[in-house]
């Protein structure tokens, strides 16, 4: 790794000033599980690493049935799944937080970092998109909010401008009769990068027999995590049935534009999008019914 300088700002404004002063030669570090590997491997080069972990807002983790969930950009995965209230309200998010890397990685890695790293395979991004997550951003020109599905712009690239930083990911209150799920396919049981990942969320009517709305998002099948809007929208107002879920999974496949690489072929990935969309929808439905 080349020489770096390390700063530990205590406030957002101090951090923004540091980031702005170095432009693209500065990078915020949360868990560092992606950044340090990239710096050491020469895939990224910076002069200044700015620690996110001393800033209160980036360590905030709060949930209330009135305001929903706020996850500071630096909160490590294990704190999220160790929180019973959050685990109960957002099982779809916990599916992802508890399978990123191994236990060592989960002790450091944050959902904010996963989102900013903008890997097409980032496991937490599909459930964040499916749950309607919003990125809260601070910068020299003030703060702004960006929907999670609009945050990643290319492999390893995101909407953050020089001098901007992710403060938190905010996820709305789960409405009544809603449920979510994330599954990925990997050839082993743990510690691997998704060949395909699918996150879904559903809202059912009171009877639990009909979809009110649904959101579906896909990992590892395009340069960015995909928000398969048409696939989710196709379920609105439809009965929960094998046929409607099958139709949504076909629309999800249509939204995928995978490549063949060392982890999987186009054909395999399209097939997996179908399988995982159906499975996650069924799990989400069960959770929505309180199962």
């Amino acid at each position: 790794m080349d020489w770096i300088d390390f700063a530990t700002p205590k406030t957002i404004s101090e951090a923004v000033e540091l980031l702005a002063s170095k432009g693209d030669r500065a990078r915020l570090i949360a868990g560092g599980t992606d950044l340090l590997v990239q710096l050491r491997g020469g895939r990224r080069s910076v002069d200044l690493v700015v620690d996110a972990k001393q800033i209160p807002e980036l360590n905030e983790m709060s949930y209330s049935p009135q305001n929903g969930l706020v996850i500071g950009a630096a909160v490590p995965c294990y704190l999220i799944y160790a929180d019973n209230a959050i685990a109960e309200a957002y099982p779809g998010l916990i599916d992802a937080a508890s399978l990123i890397g191994g236990i060592q990685i989960q002790g450091r890695a944050s959902l904010g970092g996963n989102l900013c790293n903008a890997a097409p395979s980032g496991d937490s991004i599909p459930p964040i998109i499916a749950l309607g997550g919003v990125a809260h951003i601070a910068g020299s020109n003030g703060s702004r909010q960006v929907a999670a599905e609009d945050f990643c712009t290319g492999p390893g690239r995101n909407v953050l401008q020089d001098g901007e930083m992710l403060v938190s990911i905010n996820i709305p209150v789960p409405v009544a009769h809603s449920g979510a799920s994330y599954l990925r396919f990997i050839p082993r049981n743990e510690m691997d990068i998704a060949v395909v990942g699918v996150g879904t969320s559903v809202v059912l009517d009171e009877s639990g027999q009909n979809f009110v709305s649904a959101r579906i998002s896909l990992a590892s099948v395009a340069p960015i995590p995909v928000f398969a809007k048409e696939a989710g929208d196709s379920l609105a107002g439809k009965p929960v049935s094998e046929a409607t879920i099958q139709e949504a999974s076909e629309k999800a496949i249509a939204a995928a534009t995978p490549i063949s690489d060392m982890r999987g072929t186009i054909r395999q990935r399209n097939h997996l999008v179908g399988v995982l969309t159906r499975r996650t929808l069924n799990i989400a439905v069960e959770r929505a019914r309180g199962g």
């Binding site: 770096i4 390390f6 868990g31 560092g32 599980t33 690493v49 060592q104 002790g107 510690m191």
Partner: protein, 157 residues
């Protein structure tokens, strides 16, 4: 070019002061600055777990933490497990169950197992295998390691 940074932390229960460059990982600091070579370097990118240490009681890969990030924090390495009275029960169980061959992965496994058993001495085989998924061993086939951790859990209750 910035100079070395002064860091104060608690390592294995003792207050430690050292100078390091911000680019140095905790693993490099332990091995090259502090001469604590019990923690091993395997892949150096967070896949193998050979460099596992406890960081405020939670297991992490020390290759993926900067030395400067441990300022004011508490780290436990493999050197912190045995006492004057003898080996830690996990170390003893690894010996008795022949849970090591070449030994390079062993400190990481033992520290990772401590992170689990300190919280969950009743962890069952499935839980242990899941917990240790971030530690790779190319010799043993894992079975003896898992049995050693189950054995240690019994003794630590």
């Amino acid at each position: 070019m910035p100079g070395p940074t002064h860091v104060q932390a608690t390592i294995n229960g003792e207050e430690v002061n050292f100078l390091c460059e911000p680019r140095q990982s905790l693993l490099e600091v332990l091995r090259d600055v502090l001469g604590m070579t019990g923690t091993k370097e395997g892949c150096n990118d967070g896949n193998c777990g050979a460099c596992t240490v406890l960081f405020d009681g939670r297991i992490i890969d020390s290759c993926l933490v900067l030395g400067v990030e441990i300022q004011g924090r508490e780290v436990t390495t493999i050197e912190g497990l045995a006492t004057a009275d003898g080996l830690h029960p996990i170390q003893q169980a690894f010996l008795e169950n022949a849970a090591l061959q070449c030994g390079i992965c062993t400190p990481g496994f033992i520290v990772a197992a401590k992170g689990l058993l300190d919280e969950e001495p009743d962890a069952d085989e499935g839980r242990i295998r899941h917990w240790l998924a971030g530690n790779l061993c190319r010799c043993t086939g894992y079975d003896k390691i898992v049995r050693a951790v189950l054995d240690a859990g019994e003794k630590m209750k």
